[in-house]
């Protein structure tokens, strides 16, 4: 539902005018009409958001009421080892150095080696008594607020495809991301910032790059806008060689010309939308620098997140964590935060992909991720933000409990791994699903990525079967034709 006070008089008029969505949605709507009149093959009918062409980011109602109004998705590209973080497997200690029957001979990277015990010691945390490793002690300390899923599975053992699968529901590229779907459905509470913002790791983009926040076939307005502390929004500010007054005169002249032109086409919502987009751009030019400026954050906040770290990678990631919180505070609907980039970073440690020297590579990555991420969640909690914000911590797949043949690292493992949820609508201090005794395969309450995505959409008040968009012959969904909401993790 559009809040009336957020609309300009022209927007209100358009909203009332019959058929405005028709002109905006084009073919999509004609199909809906067709399906509704001719009888859709299934009893599940798509729910189309009512989009105001003048303000595509205006807030819209969910399909049903849920506590979560905003969502923070933390992505951990490269694949985090579940058996070295949150999935405690004592059997690995016992069978360390052995190769029991039943484990595969070949995985993604080649021949397999022997089982290896966790590279970090595990200890118990909180009232729930969760066993968490010393690689992620700060997150361990928050165990009572987290909801772990230990039986995650993916359908690809290759990073970029698995990133696609996690964030878009499809292995192949070109499908809308979770953030784009959510922004399309719900708009934003803030009219001065895009509805969906993607904060890249300071070291660069993840393997599948823009596809992780792409809009696919949804309107471009819903693609993630990517910026972070060390990578500002492109073309946000006027070039230096233009004076402020010349810039202002440009904007005024554009407006004047457009107003005169509108007199010829008074009913054209598309032209009105374009005028509105210049106004929004002007507001973004003010609001983005303001939200990016974290210098005014108090000392203890900087300490909490770890921006005082001597390591560039950790300091910049911690700053991005503060930025994520500030964006959510200002009502941005979806914030996606990356901890890890593609593999071209140069110093060898750019993400969680630890094919060699687990202790060193995962160790460095854990040091960067743990404190700032935990600081962010703790800070959101102390500000009450977890009451209406969902937190998703997700890696594209896990790692093998055995080492690679003749190697010192763990290989890709899509058959069983761990992600966690926290915040609005989610159980606290809870663990769902189990992997087998080695932590290799999901065994109890197996969760497919479709289920995971159906669940986070559900937590945002969206029915994953009804949030669809017609593209080239098919009502497309984030969950394709699959997915069941995991009821047990709902608070």
């Amino acid at each position: 539902m559009n809040d009336a006070h957020n609309l300009t008089p022209r927007g209100l008029r358009l909203l009332n005018r019959r058929g405005f969505t028709q002109s905006f949605l084009g073919g999509g709507l004609s199909l809906m009409t067709l399906l509704n009149s001719d009888g859709y093959a299934s009893d599940v009918k798509p729910l189309r958001p009512q989009i105001d062409p003048e303000n595509p980011y205006a807030p819209r109602s969910p399909h049903f009421d849920m506590p979560a109004k905003k969502v923070l998705v933390i992505n951990l590209p490269g694949a985090v080892s579940q058996v070295d973080t949150f999935d405690y497997k004592p059997a690995l200690e016992k069978y360390h150095g052995k190769k029991p029957p039943g484990l595969p001979e070949v995985t993604f990277g080649g021949p397999t080696g022997k089982l290896h015990k966790p590279f970090w010691k595990f200890r118990q945390y909180g009232e729930c008594g969760k066993m968490v490793s010393d690689l992620v002690p700060h997150l361990g300390a928050l165990s009572d607020d987290l909801c772990f899923i230990h039986s995650m599975t993916s359908e690809s053992s290759n990073h970029p495809q698995a990133e696609n699968f996690l964030n878009t529901g499809f292995i192949m590229e070109g499908f809308p991301s979770f953030g784009a779907w959510t922004a399309y459905a719900l708009g934003s509470e803030n009219s001065e910032l895009p509805a969906f913002i993607s904060i890249n790791d300071p070291r660069g983009m993840p393997r599948s790059g823009r596809n992780n926040w792409g809009n696919g076939f949804l309107p471009a307005a819903y693609q993630g806008t990517d910026f972070g502390i060390s990578s500002p929004v492109k073309n946000l500010t006027r070039p230096e060689r233009l004076s402020e007054s010349a810039d202002q005169k440009t904007v005024d002249l554009v407006k004047k010309m457009n107003d005169l032109h509108m007199e010829r086409f008074p009913e054209d919502s598309d032209l009105a939308a374009r005028i509105a987009s210049y106004e929004l751009a002007g507001r973004m030019q003010m609001s983005v620098p303001e939200v990016m400026d974290i210098r005014g954050e108090p000392e203890h906040i900087h300490k909490l997140y770890g921006t005082d770290s001597g390591s560039d990678n950790k300091r910049l990631y911690a700053q991005n964590c503060i930025l994520a919180r500030r964006l959510l505070e200002r009502g941005v609907r979806v914030v996606q935060l990356f901890n890890g980039s593609d593999a071209s970073g140069g110093n060898g440690i750019t993400n969680w992909d630890s094919h060699t020297k687990m202790e060193k590579t995962h160790g460095m990555q854990g040091e960067i991720m743990d404190q700032p991420t935990a600081g962010l969640i703790a800070d959101m909690k102390q500000r009450g933000m977890l009451e209406d914000t969902l937190v998703v911590w997700a890696t594209e797949f896990g790692r093998t409990p055995f080492l690679q043949g003749f190697g010192t690292g763990r290989d890709h493992n899509p058959s069983g791994f761990t992600c966690f949820l926290a915040g609005a609508g989610v159980k606290k201090g809870f663990s769902y699903g189990e992997s087998d005794e080695w932590g290799f395969k999901a065994e109890v309450d197996k969760v497919e990525m479709y289920d995971f995505n159906a669940t986070i959409l559900h937590l945002m008040g969206l029915d994953h079967e009804r949030l669809s968009y017609y593209h080239n012959g098919i009502e497309r969904r984030l969950t394709n034709v699959h997915g069941h909401v995991i009821k047990d993790v709902l608070a």
């Binding site: 070949v106 596809n211 005169k249 440009t250 002249l253 593609d342 080239n472 012959g473």
Partner: protein
């Protein structure tokens, strides 16, 4: 009715028993256990058990539900008895009792007698509108009192009058020329063109307009504009996509082919045929069409065999999607895992279509040039010169660097065994070839055994891909001694590769390469293919091995033997000339050729079942099997290559029919004038680009889930006119159809709104006015460059690359999107998938990931920011200002001229005054920047 039959029980005992009676014994089992999910109301998995016909046909899996007489082949029995939880039926925990299952078994064994349903079911009539034959619709009676230019108007005005709508008055000549010019060429008319046209129009409006249409259709920019529409549909891109997102360095010749085809008005049926089989139809570049979509390069696929089989399926699936979306207008891809949910396309149809393209690979190939092509001549001449130079070195050993590979040459030797030992810390090979004196790769023709010893430490890839004649899979053999923490310095063993022929062979040279795929396609700045060094080649002689070519010895000789060095330098010069001017592999798809039959036997011996096998290419010709549920691990029946069965797609081809001919036959079926889809889909596309909305608004889906035509009679009349023109002119002419459409009053009328009509038809579906529309990214950018006088007029050729050199597993990053080298039309901007050009990506410029039969029109603040603040806009504003200053010293005339260039009109007094004031205080460039950003500049009305 009771029947006695012989029943054989599980132990093989025969017993005379009473036949199973359906009504009393079977029906209730089905009713109680199956029909809730597989009955009238629901058909889970497309399966229905409430009648015998559907039971026999089976569901989405494509398998027969029951095979009367054969319970063991009946899928129903499988799902009733399986342990597989995902398959087991009935769904849930309740299973049928053994007695019930045995009854059903017996019932099937006895022929599955279902009273009243033993006759064949009456053929269901195909009701989908788009599959009905195209008949020339009767032209409606002309309605009095309306402006009308051709028969299109009669159809539209007839439909309009039923809705109480009237056509609009004619557009002004300026609006009309602007509209026509952008529609046909993507350029706004110049001020002079406008003035000339207005003058001619005043005297003879119809003649002036037709002359303008003919002039613009003949413009070489017409092809550029219309080629982009086609490239959008097939999501043609110049990188692979995926993590490596490899550059397809020589994909652009296909773009040139498409531009030329539209410019030359290549008949559409020929255009389609050449794109499917140009390799044998004299249009080699056209087959770039088949590999327009993305593929995941082998280098990022890992070691699991299934992943390689799935990837091969995905590649051909992209090809099927391309054809079905662009030409058929059907979503055939939906039938990959099960029969199509809405349309009469079966899973067998999908795999029959796949069978047509089994010879295709997403690889570069050397185009089939005519004998007198300059590249063929240069190649032949240079190779001859290399051979002559070589003959002077006869008897010695040397190494040539061919860029893609090293060629080790030595005196011809007869031997059984060749061993290559490496002394490098790091060895990476993608391919080894052992050549005879004629240059034939013996490994593709002779039997041999391969042993590769890498000291058992880093057997990264199994080795068959080393010798399969297919490049890529760059880690066929990889040793990295440096990586090994515990390298034993006393260990003198070095990695080696040995090839033992079954029978001894005359060998003359060996090719070693690290990564030919990268050499031909996409050298990465952090990983250029390295020459292979530090090796020693030995051959078996008598009981032992004898060195025949040693890299170290060769390097030493090169220093001391001046004449060898001089000759070799000459050879290297010829080679680099060859690499430049000779035959070159291009990214237009590769085909396994019939003469490759012998080596294909080798390829098919690649062990697909072995867990450690590495597939670089699948066997040819091979049978195509249905993959049940789309799963490579569950192959089903063998299918013959054919088109869609619902459109008589049977090509009467055996499974061993040569592949190029399969494609030719398939293309002939696709372009038959009586094909119900091909002509309809194309005229609808043309209509979409002329009027901004297709008669069928889902341009690539003419199926049940797509939209129905707004004007079905008009669509069919146009489709018929396309293939059988009434006046006997050339059929399948795209230009003729465009002309027909732009000559109509529907196109020539005003776009002025009309409140009464908007209330009836806000979308102008009835074309009572020309609906104003926003222009695409190309029109904005190309016209900015044109009015500033900076646009290069070069048509065709290699494009420009705004991205910096890319790291192997890194991303393409925008480097420079405004300098002089970018001043060509946007169609020539290298189209890397999944990238942001930081300028027009936010204007719905496709990222080549998905079929785009129409561009979305979105409005985002990022568009405003890019169009206000990018260096491109700022510098172009300055160029325009200086052009205007050249034109006149008078600021008023400058502003006047600026309006003429951008909007095709003079400024009003208010506008002139506003611009004048800013030009005076802040310079004319500020005014230009503002005018580039106006709605008027981006709206076609």
């Amino acid at each position: 009715m009771l029947t006695l039959s012989v029943f054989v029980d599980a132990k093989g005992n025969e017993a005379n028993v009473v036949a199973v009676d359906f009504e009393t014994q079977i029906k209730s089992i089905f009713q109680d256990n199956c029909l809730d999910c597989h009955g009238v109301e629901f058909q889970e998995s497309g399966f229905r058990a409430d009648n015998r016909w559907d039971l026999v046909d089976g569901g989405d899996s494509g398998e027969a539900g029951i095979v009367p007489g054969d319970p063991d082949q009946s899928y129903l029995i499988e799902v009733l008895t399986t342990d597989d939880e995902d398959l087991s039926m009935p769904y849930g925990d309740d299973h049928l009792t053994d007695t019930q299952i045995n009854l059903i078994r017996r019932w099937i064994a006895e022929g599955a007698i279902w009273p009243g349903q033993m006759e064949a079911r009456e053929e269901e009539e195909v009701t989908l509108w788009s599959l009905q034959p195209i008949e020339r619709s009767d032209i409606p009676e002309a309605l009095d009192g309306h402006v009308r230019h051709n028969d299109i108007d009669r159809f539209l005005q007839c439909a309009m009058s039923e809705k109480g709508l009237l056509p609009s008055k004619p557009a002004t000549p300026r609006d009309l020329l602007r509209r026509l010019s952008v529609t046909l060429t993507g350029f706004y008319p110049s001020p002079k063109e406008l003035v000339d046209f207005e003058k001619a129009f005043h005297d003879h409006p119809d003649a002036a307009y037709e002359a303008a249409v003919d002039r613009l259709l003949a413009s070489p920019h017409f092809g550029e504009r219309w080629a982009q529409h086609w490239l959008d549909v097939i999501r043609w891109g110049e990188t692979t996509g995926g993590e490596a997102n490899l550059y397809r360095k020589y994909a652009w010749p296909y773009r040139d082919y498409v531009i030329d085809a539209f410019n030359e008005d290549l008949p559409y049926d020929q255009f389609v045929r050449e794109q499917l089989a140009g390799d044998v139809l004299g249009a080699p570049m056209a087959t770039g069409y088949l590999v327009a979509g993305p593929n995941i390069p082998k280098s990022s696929m890992g070691n699991r065999v299934e992943d390689h089989m799935i990837a091969r399926g995905n590649r051909l699936d992209q090809t099927i999607q391309t054809i079905s979306a662009s030409v058929l207008g059907m979503t055939v891809g939906c039938a990959r895992c099960h029969d199509h949910k809405f349309d009469p396309i079966s899973i067998e149809d999908y795999y029959s279509m796949k069978a047509v393209f089994e010879d295709l690979e997403y690889e570069p190939r050397i185009p089939e040039y005519p004998e007198d092509h300059p590249r063929v001549i240069a190649d032949r001449r240079l190779r001859h010169e290399v051979d002559e130079l070589r003959s002077s070195l006869h008897g010695s050993t040397w190494i040539e660097d061919w860029g893609a590979f090293q060629q080790v040459r030595f005196p011809e030797t007869k031997t059984n065994t060749v061993r290559i030992t490496f002394w490098a810390d790091r060895v990476v090979l993608d391919e080894i070839e052992i050549l005879d004196a004629k240059g034939r790769n013996l490994l593709l023709y002779e039997d041999f055994e391969l042993t590769a010893i890498d000291q058992g430490r880093t057997a990264n890839r199994p080795n068959k891909s080393l010798v399969d004649g297919a490049y890529g899979g760059w880690r066929s053999f990889q040793v990295n001694l440096k990586d090994m923490n515990k390298r034993d310095p006393s260990n003198k063993l070095q990695p080696w590769i040995e090839i033992s022929f079954k029978e001894s062979q005359e060998i003359a040279a060996i090719n070693l390469s690290q990564n030919r795929e990268y050499f031909y396609l996409s050298p990465y700045d952090d990983y250029p293919p390295q020459p292979i060094r530090f090796f020693n080649v030995e051959v078996e002689e008598g009981a032992g091995l004898k060195p025949i070519a040693n890299w170290f010895a060769f390097q030493k000789r090169l220093k001391s033997d001046a004449s060898l060095k001089a000759t070799l330098d000459e050879i290297q010069k010829k080679i680099s000339l060859l690499n430049k001017t000779g035959l070159k592999p291009m990214f237009i798809g590769n085909f396994v050729k019939p003469e490759d039959d012998l080596r294909s036997v080798k390829r098919s011996s690649t062990d697909l079942s072995s867990a450690t096998g590495y597939i670089s290419i699948l066997a040819f010709p091979g049978d195509t099997q249905v993959l049940k549920r789309g799963d490579v691990t569950t192959p089903g029946e063998v299918v013959q290559p054919s088109g869609l069965s619902v459109i008589d797609g049977g090509l009467e081809l055996e499974t061993n029919y040569p592949n190029p001919e399969r494609r030719v036959e398939f293309a002939a079926w696709l372009t038959s004038p009586s094909h119900p889809l091909t002509p309809r889909v194309m005229v609808n596309r043309i209509w979409h680009h002329v009027f901004g909305r297709g008669l069928v608004s889902t341009g690539s889906d003419f199926g049940q889930a797509g939209a129905k035509p707004d004007h079905p009679e008009l669509l069919d009349w146009l489709a018929n006119e396309f293939v059988s023109p009434e006046d006997g002119r050339e059929p399948w002419s795209v230009k003729r159809m465009i002309k027909l459409m732009v000559m109509s009053h529907a196109f020539r009328q005003s776009s002025e709104p009309n409140a009464k009509h908007i209330a009836i038809d806000s979308d102008s579906v009835y074309l009572w006015r020309y609906k104003p529309r926003r222009v695409s990214a190309e029109v904005i950018r190309d016209n900015i460059l044109r009015v500033t006088g900076r646009l290069s007029g070069q048509i065709g050729g290699r494009g420009f690359n705004i991205y910096g050199p890319k790291k192997q597993f890194g991303h393409w990053h925008m480097k420079d999107n405004y300098s002089e080298f970018t001043w060509r039309r946007l169609i020539y901007q290298d189209r890397m998938r999944r990238t942001d050009d930081e300028l027009f990506s936010v204007f719905d410029l496709p990222d080549c990931g998905q079929i785009r039969d129409k561009r979305a029109i979105s409005t985002t603040p990022l568009q405003a920011l890019n169009l206000l603040n990018s260096e491109f806009i700022i510098s172009q504003s300055e160029y325009l200002a200086s052009e205007l200053a050249e034109h006149s010293d008078d600021p008023e005339i400058q502003i006047e001229r600026c309006f003429e260039l951008l909007f095709g009109r003079s400024p009003s007094e208010v506008e002139q005054a506003a611009c004048f004031e800013i030009a005076a205080s802040d310079g004319l460039a500020v005014v230009c920047r503002a005018l580039f950003n106006t709605n008027e500049f981006t709206l076609l009305n």
